[in-house]
């Protein structure tokens, strides 16, 4: 509790007002803690702008969303028409709608880049595990938000995309069919589904998102930012106890970020005004046909930001199950032979492997596809404990690690690209190899991340004045 602070009666009106507020609400203290006296490493590079850009897109989505809800009608008979009403009859409605639809794609673009930055520089390593976990929670909530929002225009892709994804839940043994029914609120996607998705999209998930974003930033400001060198700036402080390689976030990074925001907005508005459909990637052509429960489109593909995970789902076929079973057997044998652990643990591992194998044999591959798709996201949560590299930043890792990361990126893009296409035998095979690589990358990380010749990490950050 702060002492009540009296101010000279001769002080300016502004100073008096601020003092009045500060005696009742820690405005200056908050501004100092999070802006003007929050020390960030001075060696940030361009990869460090995607956090603030994510925040910007979140604000764009909330503000444009508020205006869209003023005219949108969550009713299966009216939804499609109300979107066209916004596009045609509401003054500037088209711009608000395009900002929202482009914003959805932009959100994933900046979040993927933001996450990849964390991967490159080991930003999830101790003591930033919770920053990463909150971030993964945001990613998960964002996927739910985007998925449910996509149903609202009530076009063919909205409808059939939701139908396909909700049906996946029915592949879960025992509870599946009832769970799918609970999600839809009906036996097929219909008015009940549209209404509950609307409710989740505009109220429930945004609340969760906002809470997680606040937690993400509080956790970050508690531990301080990582940087491209992976050096802790708090380890070297001056006489006043300030980090030598740190720089106040405000004004240095606020001016930095304002520039990044203006570059981002340039690209963003170029899309909004000149290519809002983005060649069918941001607004799918089929979605300009009103939802028709009696006519299944020939090819149902999710929007681009879900396609890497959609590829994981489609890759798991009965055939691939045998490969996965072989992987389970191999992993169990290696653990039993190589692992130095008590006999009880070995028995648990052996028994666990047998149970998993029995389940893999008895449950349909479709279910395991769902597991793979969910697992592809959930595995990210474990990254802080999977990475055993002695250094944080990719800069000081063995060169082949860099190539390995590059292959991972290419793999992610290939999975994403294949996810937009109808399956063919060749594409399915490529997606299966890609899926094995995706999971291998993470599951074997405890082993491969330790291997190789690591470069010495400097005591201070590397910075060249510009």
């Amino acid at each position: 509790m702060a002492e009540f602070h009296e101010i000279s009666p001769n002080a300016s009106a502004g100073a008096k007002t601020l003092n009045w507020i500060d005696n009742r609400f820690p405005l200056s203290a908050l501004f100092k803690a999070h802006m003007s006296e929050y020390y960030a490493p001075k060696n940030f590079n361009v990869w460090y702008v995607f956090g603030v850009l994510s925040l910007l897109v979140l604000v764009i989505q909330i503000v444009t969303g508020i205006f869209l809800v003023m005219h949108y009608k969550p009713d299966a008979a009216l939804a499609f028409g109300s979107v066209e009403y916004i596009m045609r009859d509401v003054p500037w409605g088209w711009m608000i709608r395009y900002m929202h639809s482009t914003g959805a794609s932009a959100f994933f673009a900046v979040v993927y880049l933001h996450m990849f930055r964390g991967l490159m520089y080991g930003s999830y390593r101790k003591p930033r595990e919770l920053v990463w976990l909150f971030g993964c929670g945001i990613f998960l909530a964002l996927m739910a938000e985007a998925f449910m929002g996509y149903l609202l225009p009530w076009g063919q892709m909205s409808y059939w995309g939701a139908q396909v994804i909700v049906n996946l839940f029915s592949a879960i043994p025992f509870i599946g069919p009832d769970l799918a029914l609970l999600i839809r609120g009906d036996f097929v996607v219909g008015d009940a589904t549209l209404n509950r998705f609307f409710s989740f999209h505009v109220i429930a998930v945004p609340l969760v998102l906002l809470g997680l974003v606040v937690a993400h930033i509080i956790a970050l400001h508690e531990v301080g930012s990582n940087n491209p060198d992976g050096v802790e700036i708090k380890a070297t402080k001056d006489a006043k106890g300030l980090p030598l390689d740190g720089i106040p976030f405000h004004p240095y990074y606020s001016v930095h970020d304002i520039f990044a925001v203006s570059v981002f907005l340039f690209v963003f508005t170029a899309i909004v005004f000149f290519a809002p459909e983005m060649g069918g990637y941001f607004l799918e052509y089929n979605n300009f046909i009103p939802a028709d429960p009696f006519q299944t489109p020939l090819h149902i593909a999710p929007v681009w930001y879900f396609t890497p995970f959609y590829s994981l789902l489609r890759a798991v076929t009965t055939e691939l199950m045998y490969v996965l079973m072989a992987c389970v057997v191999l992993a169990a044998v290696v653990a039993l032979l190589k692992g130095r652990m008590p006999a009880l643990f070995k028995a648990i591992i052996g028994g666990g492997a047998v149970v998993v194998l029995a389940m893999m044999l008895s449950i349909d591959a479709k279910f395991w596809g769902v597991v793979a798709m969910g697992g592809g996201v959930v595995i990210l949560f474990f990254l802080p404990w999977l990475d055993n590299s002695p250094v944080k930043s990719i800069r000081y890792r063995p060169s082949w690690h860099k190539y390995f990361y590059a292959v991972f990126v290419v793999d992610f893009f290939i999975l994403g690209y294949l996810g937009t296409l109808p399956p063919t035998p060749l594409f399915s095979r490529i997606a299966q190899v890609g899926t094995l690589f995706y999971f291998g990358f993470f599951l074997l990380m405890p082993w491969w991340s330790r291997i190789g010749t690591f470069k010495p990490v400097p005591g201070r950050v590397t910075y060249t004045a510009h």
Binding site: K42, N45, V46, W47, G81, E84, Y85, M87, R88, D89, W94, M95, M120, P228, I247, P251, Y252, V255, H256, I258, F259, V261, S262, V263, L265, F266, T269, A270, V272, F273, F274, E277, G279, G280, Y281, Y285, N286, N287, F288, I289, P290, L298, H299, I394, R395, S399, K402, Y405, A406, V409, V410, F413, Y417, T420, L421, P422, A465, H466
Partner: protein
């Protein structure tokens, strides 16, 4: 390799994939579409297209999200719209509803004729824009007595819609040749044969269809031209802002060592 090198590699990979991505819809196939002439800024053509639309399409199809008043964007006055383009008892502020009862239409054609408001946007895909598809579709009807309507179509085989513009184009039949592909006999399209002449020459007909599909393309998003005009101003402003914020950033960071 430095991180910058890695970043560059990463970005070039992204660009490569974007380039690959442009062919994403190319694998769905089907017959090639002819390129529709672009007349989206030609008000005369769009007005002519609107006239063809209300005379030929609006009998069976609706454009239920398109208001008659919006036609003022094409340089028409409310009076001109009322006297020339409003052929039903609708008010000028109403949306364009088909004259036909949808239930009757379904009974006659087996399908409810789809709403045409955003048809041009929905038909883009594999082989071109929605306008390209519609331009090809409206020009590849041919006589086929095996069909209930007596008509068939090249890009939309077994289509339920009869050739509404047949008086303009005249009667045509399609010539197919039986060829063997991979040991299977398939009918390969060889060309059209005019049976009776239409009221328009083939060139005039193509021209009329071009006006019509440009109107459909415009109607799918009436704001499309002004959106780009606004966009230029916004981009101009943001370019200025980028310059200013870059200067600001420079000014603050010049003393950081």
């Amino acid at each position: 390799m430095t991180t910058m090198g890695l970043t560059k590699k990463f970005l070039s990979g992204v660009l490569l994939l974007c380039a690959l991505g442009t062919s994403v819809h190319a694998s769905t196939g089907g017959p090639a579409w002819d390129k529709a002439p672009d007349r989206i800024n030609d008000l005369g053509a769009l007005q002519n297209g609107a006239k063809l639309f209300v005379n030929y399409c609006l009998n069976c199809h609706s454009a239920a999200f398109m208001r008659y008043t919006r036609l003022t964007d094409l340089g028409l006055t409310q009076e001109q719209i009322k006297s020339n383009l409003l052929l039903t008892d609708a008010k000028i502020g109403d949306t364009m509803k088909a004259s036909i009862d949808p239930k009757q239409a379904k009974a006659w054609f087996g399908n409810t004729p789809p709403d045409l408001t955003v048809i041009a946007r929905s038909r883009a895909g594999a082989n071109g824009t929605g306008a390209d598809y519609l331009y090809t579709y409206m020009r590849t009807f041919y006589r086929d007595d095996t069909k209930a309507t007596g008509w068939n179509n090249l890009v939309f085989p077994n289509v339920a819609m009869p050739h509404v513009l047949w008086e303009l184009q005249g009667d045509r039949r399609a010539v197919f040749e039986e060829v063997e592909v991979h040991g299977q006999k398939v009918h390969e399209f060889k060309g059209f044969e005019q049976i009776t002449p239409g009221t328009l020459t083939p060139a005039q007909y193509d021209n009329a269809v071009a006006d019509l599909v440009n109107y459909l393309q415009w109607m799918a998003e009436p704001v499309q031209t002004s959106r780009k005009a606004v966009g230029l101003w916004v981009l101009g402003f943001l370019a200025l802002l980028m310059g200013l914020t870059w200067k600001l950033n420079k000014a603050y960071w010049k003393d950081v060592r």
